[in-house]
């Protein structure tokens, strides 16, 4: 089943065509890798999918519903989530709160309901806290749960990014370089976590510069160059693709 379809999408910033008539698809239950040189437009494409930018032209379809032009919170509500390439933690909130604040549809986020102090609101909140602590344990940040997020190291912030999207319980997760700057042991752990989650039915679309990761872990690989998709297919096919060799893998 097709989960995400990007169809002829373009986006320009001033004179720069960051994404140029991009067309690609993501199958449900797969791990799809997106590679390409710096400035190829990968992050911009993700921002278009999640609704941070709206495309100049083209359609983006998620589960047979057009989502281009929707505000991000509506897209997130439909089960998409994205991490940032450069972590954007909420600096003065604690690590735990960074995770909790990312949850979807918390009733306590309405001022009236939170004023009323309904028991069900706070039961949801307690559940959420339990879930968030579990996630932090999973990525090894339990000890730091009550530290302000600004005190984390660069790699730890990347992990926090991951926890923040997992707490939303999305069906399609866009990961922008999830293991860049994370030490090898931990990144192996993250990759096997991704594998496990995929088995439980989630779909991943990830940007990665590490070719080992891409070619070993992904079911399909899409290659972008100067805003266009220049190749796609199974890792082995893509590795042998002449255009990819020329423009990216460097012969």
């Amino acid at each position: 089943m097709l989960l995400l379809e990007v169809d002829g999408v373009s986006k320009s910033f001033g004179g720069i065509r960051a994404v140029d008539k991009c067309t690609l698809e993501v199958e449900a239950g797969s791990i799809v890798g997106l590679i390409g040189p710096n400035g190829a437009g990968k992050s911009t494409l993700f921002n278009l999918v999640i609704g941070t930018y709206s495309p100049d032209v083209g359609r983006i379809v998620f589960r047979d519903e057009r989502i281009d032009g929707m505000p991000p919170y509506e897209i997130v509500e439909r089960g998409l989530a994205k991490t940032f390439q450069i972590p954007r933690e909420f600096r003065s909130l604690t690590v735990l709160e960074n995770v909790m604040v990312s949850a979807r549809g918390e009733p306590g986020e309405s001022p009236v309901l939170s004023l009323l102090g309904l028991r069900r609101v706070w039961r949801r909140e307690e559940e959420l806290e339990r879930k968030s602590r579990d996630l932090l344990a999973l990525i090894g940040l339990s000890e730091l749960a009550d530290e302000p997020a600004r005190n984390l190291s660069g790699g730890q912030k990347k992990l926090l990014e991951l926890a923040r999207v997992l707490v939303m319980d999305p069906s399609l997760i866009l990961l922008d370089e999830p293991v860049a700057g994370v030490n090898p042991t931990l990144s192996l752990k993250i990759l096997s976590l991704i594998e496990d989650l995929r088995k439980s039915g989630k779909t991943f679309f990830l940007i990665e510069h590490d070719m080992n990761v891409v070619f070993n872990r992904c079911d399909r690989v899409i290659v972008m160059h100067q805003g266009r998709v220049i190749a796609e297919g199974k890792p082995a096919e893509v590795r042998a693709h002449p255009a990819v060799l020329e423009s990216y893998l460097g012969g």
Binding site: T52, Y53, S54, P71, E109, S110, P111, V112
Partner: protein, 315 residues
């Protein structure tokens, strides 16, 4: 009579232009809205008064005042704004409110709250076009001449000199400018100097034009200047000039309308506000400005979102 009012609008605009260009330069290069800009004008007006006591010549006094205000600009940059570099747009804005309080009230403490005056003896009005336009050579024409020449000089400076290019590069992308060899610290100082020079001139000219000085004279123009900057488009000098003209002319046009229709002319003060809100509603980037900081979504979408939120019982 219409011509006369348009002419008055130009006079009004000339004073606003000098301040608006300064606000705009600071916004472009330093990335914050300087709420003390009106008070820098007041400072210029008062120091012109001080030096007038020594020199007895308004022009010389105004030039001396220019040095003082430019220096005040650099001092602010060194003591305050340089330390707020990476703190976003609001921290320096709040600091500038502090600066405004200090400047305005120091002037009041020293000179007292009462009006002062340069003691100019205004000559008789000149009459043009067979009586269609009557104007005072000092009260009206001096501000226009000063504004026109200072604006031209600034535009030339920004467009054709090395400094101007460095300023524009810094405004565009500070980090990129830095890597390509621009000394941004010097650029910041020069921006303050330029903004200070223009503010001081417009303060002196304002004093000449209304004939009296008060500690709040510049601050009361702040709103008009911001309106001009936003109507024209933040970040563009052309925008500041256009915006000042639009605001100045609309104000005097409103005066004309109020005379004809019997509307209370005191509502003139609402004109810049109305223009400002209209711009924010219809075209937030102003007449010629570029969007700042991310994509601006149409108002329609935002309101729809609000209504949707309410309907879902988020409230």
């Amino acid at each position: 009579m219409v011509v006369q009012f348009l002419f008055n609008g130009l006079v009004q605009a000339s004073i606003v232009i000098l301040g608006a260009i300064g606000i705009n330069l600071l916004y472009g290069v330093k990335k914050f809205a300087n709420f003390a800009h009106g008070d820098m004008m007041t400072l210029g007006a008062y120091f012109t008064f001080v030096f007038l006591g020594g020199t007895r010549d308004l022009m010389t006094a105004a030039i001396w005042a220019v040095f003082v205000v430019a220096l005040a600009g650099v001092v602010q940059e060194v003591l305050i704004y340089a330390r707020l570099e990476n703190r976003g747009p609001v921290a320096p804005l709040v600091a500038s409110i502090g600066v405004s309080l200090v400047m305005q009230n120091s002037l009041t403490t020293y000179f007292g709250p009462a009006f002062l005056s340069y003691g100019i003896r205004y000559p008789d009005n000149w009459v043009f076009f067979g009586g269609a336009v009557s104007t005072n050579p000092i009260r009206d024409l001096v501000p226009m001449a000063v504004a026109a020449s200072a604006t031209t000089a600034t535009v030339v400076l920004l467009k054709y000199t090395k400094l101007g290019k460095a300023m524009r590069a810094t405004a565009d992308n500070r980090d990129l400018a830095r890597v390509s060899g621009v000394n941004t610290r010097v650029v910041y100082w020069m921006t303050w100097i330029l903004a200070g020079v223009l503010a001081s001139l417009s303060g002196s000219v304002l004093g000449v034009s209304i004939g009296t000085l008060a500690p709040s004279m510049g601050a009361t123009l702040l709103l008009t200047m911001f309106a001009a900057v936003i109507v024209g488009g933040i970040g563009s000098t052309t925008g500041a000039i256009l915006g000042s003209l639009v605001v100045g002319l609309s104000q005097s046009l409103f005066f004309l309308v109020s005379l004809v229709s019997g509307l209370d002319p005191r509502w003139q003060i609402a004109v810049p506000f109305a223009l400002l809100v209209a711009t924010l509603l219809v075209k937030p980037t102003g007449l010629v400005g570029r969007p700042i900081g991310g994509e601006i979504r149409p108002l329609r979408t935002e309101i729809a979102e609000m209504l949707k939120g309410i309907r879902r019982g988020l409230f």
